[in-house]
């Protein structure tokens, strides 16, 4: 891999992040409500509100506000939470691990089950197994997370009372949020694995492998899956980004102490600095994951080199 490609990709990633930060900044500006008034409280005098406006530099021009915001963000200063008064960066840092852990666990489970399902479906295309898996994946991918989450709570926490409905105190409290979060990804990964495998299994080199006398398992794994990995890895990487960002609803449903719930709480409280910070962190992670997926291609496929 040449260094210039890496530089090129990193520059691209930075430009994307700059775009995102502009977008986030403007979006928060466009939201109804006055941050200064929120911070000052309902009883504040006009003078107090004006003082806070000045402190937050809200009286300055839009461009100047943005450069200040960007400069602070670059030094790790995402501002101060309007609600708690703590630095936004610290609030996010405290909640981020829970979100990442859950997303990684969910993608791990989704990858394992999804690839397995996809392989089985590709092994016997258009069989009963294939159709059942299709039905399952369509079902799983059609269920919104909040609905599936509530359903799981009703069944396992309320009806049978075998799993906790919220929190993250014991290992059992991970099961329902992980299942909820993984469901959609399982479906997608299974579908992509199946399609990629069916495509690969038609290739001439699969016939060559069989002509060598390789066992079906060897043909399937060493020659089939190894080649099908590229699209599957792509989906897994993109899904991980989705899971980190998409965990918002799941975190709310299961009272999971992650940044998704932090975001929702911040939105309800009109805590603009926190909203900005969380969205920026989401964007950073997704850009980073995309970069990693792209770079992983060179490891997976010798034909790709940058």
């Amino acid at each position: 891999m040449s260094g210039s490609y890496l530089v090129q990709r990193l520059t691209g990633a930075l430009i994307t992040l700059l775009g995102v930060s502009i977008f986030v900044f403007l979006m928060v500006k466009a939201l109804p409500g006055d941050p200064a008034r929120v911070i000052a409280g309902v009883d504040a005098t006009v003078e107090e509100v004006a003082r806070i406006r000045e402190e937050l530099k809200l009286d300055q021009g839009l461009f100047q506000q943005f450069t200040t915001f960007l400069g602070d963000a670059l030094t790790g200063n995402l501002g101060t939470s309007a609600k708690s008064g703590n630095p936004v960066a610290a609030e996010i840092a405290a909640r981020l691990p829970a979100t990442v852990q859950l997303a990684v666990l969910a993608i791990g489970v989704a990858t394992f089950i999804g690839v397995l399902f996809g392989l089985f479906a590709a092994l016997r295309p258009n069989s009963l197994v294939d159709y059942s898996l299709s039905a399952f994946t369509i079902g799983a991918s059609s269920m919104p997370a909040f609905w599936l989450g509530l359903l799981l709570i009703i069944v396992f926490a309320v009806q049978f009372q075998v799993l906790p409905a919220s929190g993250k105190d014991t290992w059992t409290s991970w099961i329902l949020p992980t299942a909820t979060l993984a469901a959609f990804s399982v479906a997608l990964i299974a579908r992509v694995t199946r399609a990629a495998m069916l495509e690969i299994l038609r290739q001439d080199y699969i016939r060559t492998a069989r002509a060598k006398g390789a066992s079906e398992r060897r043909v399937f794994i060493r020659h089939g899956l190894r080649n099908a990995l590229l699209p599957v890895i792509t989906v897994i990487g993109l899904q991980l980004g989705q899971l980190i960002g998409g965990a918002v609803l799941t975190e709310v449903v299961f009272s999971w102490p992650g940044i998704g719930r932090l975001l929702v709480e911040a939105i309800f409280a009109r805590d603009f600095p926190v909203i900005q910070g969380v969205i920026l962190v989401y964007a950073m992670m997704i850009v980073l994951l995309n970069l990693l997926v792209d770079l992983s291609y060179t490891l997976l496929d010798p034909r790709i080199s940058y």
């Binding site: 001439d204 060559t208 060598k212 390789a214 496929d301």
Partner: protein, 338 residues
């Protein structure tokens, strides 16, 4: 002598019983140890399908052997457990395919792809020894600097080089039978001759019987001592290569020879066979070649001619072969470049 491969009345059908299409219909031929058999025919004549089905390389379903037997050194592959056939494939029977550009795994080093052919048939050898053997095989098929090239990937090689790798895989276990399915069709003319040489050498080193499938009579004439001519899933004519090429007894063989270009022939000397070979879905009644045959009679459309022995070493499926054989030549065949 027990033939290396003996195909008898082999019929390969696609699709569900009752609505099946016959890609191969009652094909019979065999190849003796050390001998090179050439199988000729247009595309769709079933020449590849016969061999792929014989060695269990056709996806089943939809393909299945509905009749006949395939004896490899006296053992019937058609009735053998798939696992047993797999143990023969790649070990006793090596394959060379038509598409060198796509028949190698793009994400595996070529050294490993050759070594794999050894490892899957010998649990005790281990990858390290197998890789060393792969390097030897690469120099055997004429690849320079094999040590270094073994660590490279297929996309770094030309078509000719890749076909050499495929040949190295095919001969990795000193097979008794080498099946080369249009091995030079996808290659440049200049490379074709080299690859044929490599196959010939590989054959000499291993002593393997060889079945060379080709639509190119020139290639067949160069390599084969016996010929099988196939059309629409059936054998039309078979016999000693020289005899068949010099004195074809089946009108289809004669027509094939007439349309083969030679170094001397000009465009006006080449006579393409009118019409097209039939699709599986619209197989003509009677002799499958009759719609295109210039000697056809009424009987040709109604009855399938028996495939029968003419003389000691010749088989022909034509209603009028006895008359032809006595009355002399069907055509004056153009010289086939040898």
């Amino acid at each position: 002598m027990v033939p290396t491969l003996s195909i008898k009345d082999l019929t390969v059908s696609f699709g569900k019983p009752g609505r099946e299409l016959l890609a191969v219909n009652g094909v019979t031929y065999d190849v003796q140890p050390g001998e090179t058999l050439g199988v000729v025919g247009e595309s769709g004549s079933g020449k590849s399908v016969t061999l792929l089905a014989a060695l269990g390389l056709l996806p089943s379903p939809p393909a299945r052997i509905s009749r006949g037997s395939v004896e490899f050194q006296g053992r019937d592959l058609a009735r053998m457990d798939a696992k047993k056939v797999r143990q023969i494939r790649g070990k006793d029977v090596g394959f060379i395919f038509q598409e060198p550009l796509t028949s190698l795994n793009p994400v595996m080093t070529i050294g490993d792809q050759i070594a794999e052919a050894i490892v899957v048939h010998d649990q005790n050898i281990g990858w390290q020894k197998a890789r060393a053997r792969a390097v030897e095989l690469m120099s055997l098929v004429g690849m320079p600097d094999p040590e270094r090239l073994a660590k490279q990937y297929p996309h770094e090689f030309s078509g000719g080089m890749r076909q050499r790798i495929v040949i190295a895989i095919a001969i990795a276990n000193n097979p008794k039978l080498l099946i080369a399915d249009e091995p030079t069709t996808a290659l440049d003319v200049t490379v074709q001759a080299q690859i044929l040489d490599v196959i010939r050498e590989a054959q000499e080193k291993t002593g393997a019987a060889t079945i060379l499938v080709s639509h190119d009579l020139g290639v067949i004439a160069q390599m084969a001592s016996k010929i099988v001519v196939m059309y629409a899933g059936r054998v039309m004519e078979a016999g000693d290569a020289e005899d068949v090429l010099e004195n074809p007894l089946h009108p289809y063989t004669a027509a094939l020879i007439e349309c083969a270009p030679t170094m001397e022939s000009e465009l006006k000397d080449i006579h393409p066979i009118p019409g097209q070979s039939p699709s599986l879905m619209e197989m003509p009644s009677g002799c499958p070649f009759h719609p295109r045959c210039r000697y056809r009679q009424d009987v040709c459309a109604s009855r399938v001619p028996a495939y029968r022995a003419i003389g000691s070493d010749r088989h022909v499926a034509c209603h009028f072969v006895e008359e032809t054989a006595e009355g002399g030549r069907l055509v004056v065949p153009a010289a086939i470049d040898a």
